[in-house]
Symmetry: C2
Subunit: 116 residues, 2 copies
């Protein structure tokens, strides 16, 4: 398993339950019990997901023994956004090509109308 | 293994060699041989990385039997950027807190200077 921060972050994000946990925490801190509620998976399975998120620095957990609220930590997500943005010109280029194609279609329709 | 597109994309990105391959392809199409050159790993290992990237829709490969150039496909990266951006307010908030903290430090210095 790669051990660089970005690889650890991407591994942590490669699971819909873990992304749903982050989405829930974007609404505010929550306990493990609160986080488990929407999912039909066991407490231990949730705890395992939380450990993966915590190791990636995507969540922090309170130190109180019983009530250990989880909170979102966004710094690794900024790194993800910055990394993905370096490729923006490639998806913008796809839209440019789509625009060109639609313009061509429209031109063809106009020409066809004229020729009828 | 989760099978939703975003999880497949994140899994493919969770490896520094695969991200280096995408960075190389952002400079233009390349053959497997060209892609292997900078890495001290075997041809079959590179081919395996390319299959992961291809399954995630992050690269496309030419159909010519011998010369099968790989090209970057950016659509899944846009999905990553859009997803990460939904958390922007959290890292912006961290900067706001840092700004507040620095302003407090500066205020304290000014006060200390006055009291000397």
């Amino acid at each position: 398993m790669p051990t660089d921060q970005l690889s650890i972050t991407f591994t942590a994000l490669a699971d819909p339950t873990r992304r749903a946990i982050l989405a829930r925490l974007s609404q505010g801190a929550a306990t493990v019990k609160e986080l488990s509620a929407p999912f039909s998976i066991s407490g231990p399975a949730i705890s395992k997901h939380l450990r993966v998120l915590e190791r990636a620095g995507l969540i922090a957990r309170g130190r109180e023994a019983q009530w250990r609220p989880c909170t979102l930590e966004a710094a690794p997500l900024e790194e993800v956004a910055v990394w993905a943005e370096t490729y923006r010109r490639f998806w913008d280029a796809s839209y440019d090509r789509l625009d060109d194609y639609l313009a061509q279609l429209q031109q063809k329709e106009t020409d066809d109308d004229r020729n009828q």
